[in-house]
Symmetry: C2
Subunit: 124 residues, 2 copies
Amino acid sequence: MTRTVPRRPAVRPRRSLCPVSCTLDAIGDRWSLLVVRDLMRGKRRYAEFLESSEGIPTNILADRLKRLQASGIVTSQRYSSHPVRLEYHLTPKGEDLRPMMRAMVEWGVRHAGARMPPPLPPRE
Amino acid sequence: MTRTVPRRPAVRPRRSLCPVSCTLDAIGDRWSLLVVRDLMRGKRRYAEFLESSEGIPTNILADRLKRLQASGIVTSQRYSSHPVRLEYHLTPKGEDLRPMMRAMVEWGVRHAGARMPPPLPPRE
């Protein structure tokens, strides 16, 4: 007998029409916004995300890139065909997470003992 | 033989000193900021959080209230002794999540098909 493991859908169903809830349905986890942060800081490639100091596991990175693309926050394009390799970019919807990211940086520095990072580069 | 299930610590260890990562260590999940939203909107009691339209499960609500208190974002005080019942409030650290919450509301309305909510009440 073959058992299929149900996979979580790449885009989570909405829990309500509250904008906080809808936003959390898209990026409410411990890792998605770290990938968005890396993209804002100019990282583009799978291996670059893996180098970040939080040590994102490869299976989580693959899952979050898939979800962020399904949510329209990230887009990808090939930079090599043999083998196929992809570069990732923020869409305008992803770029529009910058005010939230700035608010998180400020709160983290004020209240969570974090270090102030160097300023983010401007949008491309 | 008795098996003990290892419990997750109420405060997660830091993954790095990046402020985005430190913030996500505290509130990076699908539910914590919905409890914070409810507190900003004046909800105080366990039963009131359970009424919110996302339908937070009781075990998750209890866990998130415990974590938010351990992180210094929420505080509680008794309003009944027999039986013991608690009311919850945001600390100044929790109140300081308002700019992040506003940024999430704006992003959710612009990009996630959410409805604009009524304005948040001012701080108490």
